[in-house]
């Protein structure tokens, strides 16, 4: 479904991605783990065309999307719940969800909002509240809900567990699995919380300073001594 081929991305003189290749197949949960600053967020944003890859190719459902503007990429079925959640602070929860539905012009709004509220009941209670007044956990739910409103084919999640209490982390990860199982939605999950991510993912890649240094099934990565030493110690 998604093929990233030898992608390089630079910020000025810094090369944040130095030739990354990976693949996500339909129906999978694939995770990218790696330390802070490894280039995980840059990779997800490059898939969405901002910043643009300076070299390499990105294919989505066989189509080369490397040079498309962000909104065109999103309209083809890639939604992102970005790092830091980026909730529109002065819009209500409902309006934030309406923004998520922009790619389909809000055609399925009522139906889809109901599904988001079923997945995250907290959002129903908060629907008329402004995004900026939500708690961190609620914002993360809204962030994922907003991305789902687009009815994406591929969902990109950037550190959904960041800054959340362990209880909430479990809940969010549970929701991610549920979305994947019940809707068959393909998910590319970026995490520093490698243990949790590998527990729910089918496959994983390890990114270090802009390069893929390891890949395999989740079971393989969980069992790998290097991965354990670098990313799993104390990371439960």
């Amino acid at each position: 479904m998604l093929e990233v081929e030898d992608v390089h991305t630079r910020y000025g003189h810094i090369e944040a991605l130095k030739g990354v290749s990976l693949e996500v197949r339909r129906g999978e949960i694939v995770t990218i783990i790696g330390a802070n600053g490894a280039g995980k967020s840059t990779l997800l944003m490059t898939i969405c065309g901002n910043p643009r890859a300076s070299a390499g190719r990105i294919l989505f459902e066989g189509e080369d999307i490397t040079e498309l503007p962000t909104y065109e990429i999103v309209r083809r079925g890639i939604s992102q719940a970005p790092e830091g959640r980026r909730i529109f602070p002065r819009m209500t929860v409902l309006e934030n969800l309406q923004m998520g539905a922009v790619p389909n012009g809000g055609r399925y709004f009522e139906e889809d909002v109901e599904q988001v509220f079923e997945l995250f009941p907290r959002l129903r209670e908060r629907q008329h509240q402004r995004g900026g007044t939500l708690s961190g956990g609620e914002q993360q739910m809204l962030c994922i809900g907003r991305a789902l409103m687009a009815r994406p084919k591929l969902l990109l999640l950037d550190e959904p567990s960041l800054g959340l209490a362990p209880m909430l982390v479990r809940q969010i990860f549970h929701s991610i699995v549920e979305i994947n199982r019940t809707r068959g939605l393909t998910i590319l999950l970026v995490e520093q919380n490698a243990y949790q991510a590998l527990r729910i993912a089918h496959r994983g890649y390890v990114l270090a300073t802009g390069q893929i240094v390891m890949e395999g099934t989740s079971a393989q990565l969980l069992a790998d001594p290097e991965v354990r030493a670098a990313y799993l110690e104390g990371g439960h």
Binding site: N50, V74, P82, F88, R90, M91, M99, V102, G106, R130
Partner: protein, 304 residues
């Protein structure tokens, strides 16, 4: 008391026009964080298009005033909006993503260019428009002093209230308005939601220019004369109004415009007409020093 009432009427009229122009400054600033210094010139072009439209309609024999007004209004909005759109495409979009001062400098250049362009095309002389709308209403009489509201003033105030209502609804309730607010709050995220950001910015310039065109038409009717330089002062005053209300905030722009109009009218009425512009600029300085976020410029205020 009656004298006061008269200044109030004049002030609200003036404030309506400032408010309409100020919205354009505020919206553009809200989305791309730039002061569009050419916006005053867009207003001036709106005034010129109005006067040319009146002349053309006269030649075509369309002289029934309500129809003529409506047509001129539409023509001015459409053509001026085209100018607004073009300015953004030519002078600002290519500079997006470059250093922060670049579009600002480009805007000043654009402002000078547009002034000279109109001066070359239309000459430097003031252009008069014979009174199109005449008559008015007496609101009260105190001995020899009568409080009047002219029909032009009625039109200006009613039209402004109408436009601002429609406009507020557009921003609050329509997908376009929502996209504009999203761009104002987080440009990058708006794009990730599938918003065509460039198009939204273009439309923001179009809307701001259309409102400025209405103000241009009003000024043409109200003062009866225009020239290529009117955009300078009106632009700075509307900018003052936008800052006073809190730049980035649309209700703020309306409120700031109204307040500035009132200050100017009362200043002229009670002190001296000569220094009314000084009063406006004093406000700008004082607001910038003591209240840089303006009256409604708090983060929780709805902005575009």
């Amino acid at each position: 008391m009656y004298y006061f009432l008269q200044q109030l009427v004049n002030g609200v009229t003036l404030g309506a026009m400032y408010g309409l122009i100020a919205i354009g400054y505020s919206m553009v600033y809200g989305i791309i964080g730039m002061i569009n210094f050419a916006h005053g010139e867009i207003y001036m072009i709106g005034a010129f298009i109005s006067i040319i439209s009146f002349l053309l309609l006269g030649i075509l024999g369309i002289t029934w005033v309500p129809l003529a007004l409506l047509l001129v209004l539409l023509l001015a909005m459409v053509f001026t909006a085209t100018y607004g759109w073009t300015v953004e495409r030519l002078a600002y979009r290519p500079l997006r993503g470059s250093f922060r001062l670049a579009p600002l400098i480009s805007a000043i250049g654009m402002s000078i260019f547009l002034q000279n362009y109109v001066q070359l095309l239309q000459g430097a002389n003031v252009k008069p428009l014979p009174p199109v709308v005449t008559g008015g209403w007496v609101l009260g009489r105190d001995g020899t002093f009568t409080v009047q509201i002219s029909n032009i003033q009625v039109i200006i105030i009613v039209l402004t209230v109408l436009l601002m209502t429609v406009f507020s609804w557009l921003i609050a309730k329509t997908p376009l308005g929502r996209a504009q607010r999203a761009c104002e709050q987080d440009l990058k995220m708006a794009a990730l939601c599938g918003v065509d950001v460039d198009r939204t910015i273009s439309l923001t310039f179009v809307m701001g220019a259309a409102l400025a065109a209405v103000a241009g038409l009003m000024a043409t009717l109200y003062y009866g004369v225009i020239d290529f330089f009117i955009g300078f002062l009106a632009g700075i005053k509307a900018f003052t109004a936008a800052v006073l209300g809190g730049i980035g905030s649309i209700p703020g722009a309306m409120l700031g415009g109204l307040l500035l109009g009132l200050v100017e009218a009362f200043w002229s009425g009670y002190f001296s007409t000569e220094y009314k512009d000084v009063a406006a600029f004093c406000i700008l300085v004082v607001v910038l020093i003591f209240l840089p976020t303006g009256l409604l410029g708090k983060p929780e205020v709805e902005k575009v």
